[in-house]
């Protein structure tokens, strides 16, 4: 199990409460989350399943380096944070 959290900036647009999900990797964790909350998927990954350019995933404080695979292991008490870069304008 791991807990998935999303930036509060996303909560404005789509409900994305923290959830504990059963997963061995960050990729599995996000997929499990999207099964619970299908409306969130399109905000995080594009239609080809690719993490959106300015969205970053952190597992226990470390940014996931491989953005397309995200197959690093997550532990039973892992905290996964989905963040977005900031920009001006």
């Amino acid at each position: 199990m791991a807990t998935v959290h999303f930036t509060k900036n996303l909560d404005r647009h789509v409900a994305c409460p923290p959830e504990r999900v059963d997963a061995a990797t960050a990729h599995e964790a996000l997929d499990a989350y999207f099964t619970l909350h299908p409306g969130v998927r399109g905000y995080i990954v594009d239609e080809q399943g690719v993490l959106r350019t300015h969205v970053n995933v952190f597992v226990d404080g470390t940014q996931v380096a491989d953005r397309s695979v995200m197959d690093g292991p997550v532990g039973d008490r892992s905290e996964i944070y989905v963040m977005q870069a900031l920009s001006g304008g």
Binding site: L10, H13, V14, G39, G42, Y43, I44, D46, E47, Q48, V50, R52, T53, H54, V55, Q84, A85, S87, G89
Partner: protein
């Protein structure tokens, strides 16, 4: 006559309505979020707004008549064939099979309730037959081998900015691509033909008239005489009298033939409006004077309309979707990149600035 004006901006969707003897901004929605396309479907009065969340992608929202905004399906590309990589010819970068911008929305014909069209960057045309609850990529155009010649313009990838249905025939429409020419189908998207006669002066000698290389900026069709279509092109202004099959260039128009927006009179095939900027590399009004040009004789001559528009140090640019005329042909609206919106009730003779305080305007649309 239309009752309200929808204004999509870089920071929200605003509604402008008549108030007393003028106009006011009366409502705001999606504040803070770029609104890239807007449509009110005249068949059922539902309103659609395309949002560009940037970090979080492009989304589509619908508000039914007397309802609230709800997120609906956004056009999404299917998975590309295994191993296929589309390269943008100028920049030599891969073109993603993913919606980067929802650039234009159009309603289908009365005979096909629920049909909507969407044009996107990187160039896909999408169709819905259930009011946007689901979308399909029009594969006949996307898979056409000539698409490989489409290039980016101001954006990195090609963009399909204009969908112009022929009101006489549910299976006929024109689409405009920047940069990729003007395409016509008469068999409900089964096959496509490229319009000819458009001219890109900047192309190498011998390629100026290459149909697929044309940077059409915007198409506008006369509703009453649908064979008449106007095109504001990167290189100038063009008019077709055969439904977009062939085009004739309009030259020697003061103060400039460069611009992005064009509006066609809904009843008079000889009348259209343009909003000129100086030139490609100088995208501001000529001499800082904001004007609209209008022809009433099919492009043979133009009037320069400036009453009510700023005439000193005005550096507004009107984007391709930011000029609209209502179904009477008398009422016009335009919005600028510097956040001004003007309305005219007399076919452009005089303009009233409704606001100078809005975010940069992407699109304006008259609504019921």
């Amino acid at each position: 006559m239309s009752q309200s004006l929808l204004v999509g901006t870089r920071k929200g969707l605003f509604t402008i309505a008549a108030s007393g003897d003028g106009y006011d901004v009366v409502a705001a929605a999606h504040v803070g979020v770029p609104v890239t396309a807007v449509l009110q479907d005249p068949r059922d009065a539902s309103t659609y707004a395309a949002l560009d969340h940037g970090h979080f992608g492009t989304k589509l929202h619908r508000r039914d008549a007397d309802g609230d905004w709800v997120e609906i399906a956004s056009p999404e590309y299917p998975a590309p064939p295994e191993g296929q990589v589309d390269m943008e010819p100028f920049r030599q970068i891969p073109i993603p099979w993913a919606t980067k911008l929802l650039w234009t929305l159009e309603a289908g014909p009365a005979e096909r309730p629920g049909r909507l069209w969407a044009g996107t960057i990187p160039g896909g045309l999408f169709v819905s037959d259930d009011r946007g609850d689901s979308w399909s990529l029009v594969r006949s155009l996307w898979d056409d081998p000539r698409r490989k010649e489409w290039t980016g313009g101001g954006y990195d990838y090609p963009g399909l900015h204009s969908v112009s249905p022929d009101p006489r025939s549910p299976g006929s429409l024109l689409v405009g691509v920047s940069t990729g020419g003007v395409w016509r189908t008469d068999d409900d998207t089964a096959t496509w033909a490229l319009g000819t006669g458009l001219r890109n002066e900047y192309m190498p000698p011998g390629q100026e008239y290459e149909p697929v290389g044309q940077d059409a900026h915007r198409l506008a069709r006369c509703g009453a005489e649908p064979d008449v279509v106007w095109c504001q092109h990167h290189n100038g202004m063009f008019r077709s009298v055969d439904g977009g099959a062939t085009w004739s260039e309009i030259t020697d128009v003061a103060p400039s033939v460069f611009g992005f927006a064009v509006a066609a009179h809904p009843h008079d095939p000889l009348t259209a409006w343009f909003v000129p900027a100086e030139k490609d590399e100088m995208r501001v009004p000529v001499d800082g004077r904001m004007v609209v040009t209008r022809t009433r004789d099919g492009g043979a001559s133009f009037e320069t309309l400036s009453r009510g528009l700023p005439q000193e140090h005005a550096y507004h640019l009107v984007y391709r979707h930011a000029l609209d005329v209502d179904d009477t042909g008398d009422r016009l609206a335009m919005g600028s990149t510097t956040g001004s919106v003007w309305v005219s009730d007399d076919a452009g003779d005089a303009w009233t600035r409704v606001s100078a305080e809005l975010p940069p305007v992407a699109c304006v649309r008259w609504a019921g």
